[in-house]
Symmetry: C2
Subunit: 250 residues, 2 copies
DNA sequence: CGTACTTTTGATCGAAGTCAACTACGGTGG
DNA sequence: CCACCGTAGTTGACTTCGATCAAAAGTACG
């Protein structure tokens, strides 16, 4: 029971536990799941409510699955010397895997007010085993996370600052962008610093890259968080991606 | 059937398909799996035999699961300008996830002569759904891969060259090292260049870091591939890891 | 035993980091 | 509603770590 500790900004909020759990079960538990199983998932779920910038630390030995019910969050790893790496960003409806027994310290931090359900992986998978459809859904989601991590390692390992920023923006338009003519508009919930920590850069470098992209008309910004991309193609061209030979009709 | 294309070094080798498949099924299919299911796995498995440095390209649209039956391999992503990132190394008995529909081009390349079984993910998971134990095992392995990727992104995003090399060596001792007194010895199947491509550095930098570690007595080397680590603790201290507060007895 | 490739070592360069100062956004209270 | 203030973001000057370019030395292969 002591395995989760919430940070200073952890705060009571509106949504009730049943409401949170409903969002989880709507997303991950198939309709035909027996009530008994649902109840057992309920009994291992732990609600975490975070104010903006609030953070949740977990027992470093116990791996967790965290379902984001509302809001958005980042999964952060800490290395020596206070260095932070944002491993992934997560939006409502997504599942985050918080490693246990790792050599870095992981935590989940809220980008916006945020409500999560955390499950110890072991017990979660034990239950899921009784319902292949759940296991299959979890497996799919973990694979998506792995693919994102693979793509990201290319950026972190081999790309320039500009390419990293462009790939980041391409990825974000796909996840939270709303179509706008030829391009996209989006409200980024994370700070320049968060972006820097995700891309292995500094906030100054992010700022400079945003400035350049603004100059060349690739993006427009308004306020701290609103970004519009008039033409997603030119942004993608700057992402350092492999030019795929496939060019046939969909 | 045209989804897999083997490179110039793909070559015929000793192990027969039934032998390869047995290794796969011993690792991933539980004893109680019905013969019909085993047969269906067999029918979607595709054997890939690679000479040292041979490579296998896959249909970029179709995600694959590749089980390494014998030998060792690297999962490589290619970005524009011929840049390569080694996403992960894999040894016999491990499962590699080759992303499909990605913005980079992925391939598997042999470090040593190597034999794989490749499965299209969709069909694989369809079959696995009938046997929760298989799904559960795959899920576990994919999570391990995700954790490694998370830890690696800390290295790529926030660590110095020396810290990256030390974390790499720490990870390798855990995977292929053989205990030797206080430390470990191992034969690294990958070249300096492979290590560089995995750590987001150059082969020159790897060479220089190895030289420094040799100087300070942290490692000893013999020939190109033999590395011994007299004291794993001092190597770990240089890895830039979080100094975990946990210091209690096991 | 020779030869081709990998590794090592050295010298120089450049992209991003660091340090510092200034600006502007957006939330709070008057 | 507007003025104020703290934080986040921007911009500039300089530094640094690892990349790049080049050449020598070492391995392991035929």
């Amino acid at each position: 029971m002591k395995e989760m500790r919430s940070g200073p900004n952890a705060v009571a909020m509106s949504t009730t536990f049943p409401e949170l759990f409903d969002r989880f079960s709507a997303a991950l538990l198939p309709a035909e799941t027996p009530d008994a199983t649902i109840l057992r998932f309920r009994s291992i779920a732990r609600a975490i409510r975070l104010d903006s910038h609030g953070h949740a630390e977990f027992d470093p030995k116990a791996e967790q699955l965290a379902f984001v019910c509302v809001g958005s969050a980042k999964l952060v790893a800490r290395a020596s010397g206070g260095r932070e790496q944002v491993v992934s960003f997560h939006f409502a409806g997504e599942l985050a895997c918080v490693p246990g027994g790792a050599l870095h310290a992981y935590s989940i931090e809220a980008l916006t007010p945020c409500e999560l359900l955390a499950f110890p992986v072991g017990e979660f998978l034990d239950l899921a085993r009784s319902e292949p459809a759940i296991l299959s859904e979890v497996c799919d989601r973990v694979m998506v996370a792995l693919h994102r991590a693979s793509e990201k390692s290319v950026a972190l390992g081999r790309k320039t600052a500009q390419e990293r920023v462009c790939s980041f923006l391409v990825g974000m338009t796909e996840r939270i962008g709303v179509r706008q003519g030829n391009g996209f508009a989006m409200r980024l919930p994370m700070s320049r610093r968060d972006i820097a920590d995700a891309l292995g850069l500094t906030n100054e470098t992010i700022s400079r890259q945003f400035a350049e992209l603004r100059m060349s008309g690739i993006i427009e910004t308004s306020g701290r968080s609103l970004v519009t991309v008039p033409d997603i193609g030119s942004l993608r061209d700057l992402g350092g991606y492999m030019q795929l030979p496939e060019r046939n009709a969909a």
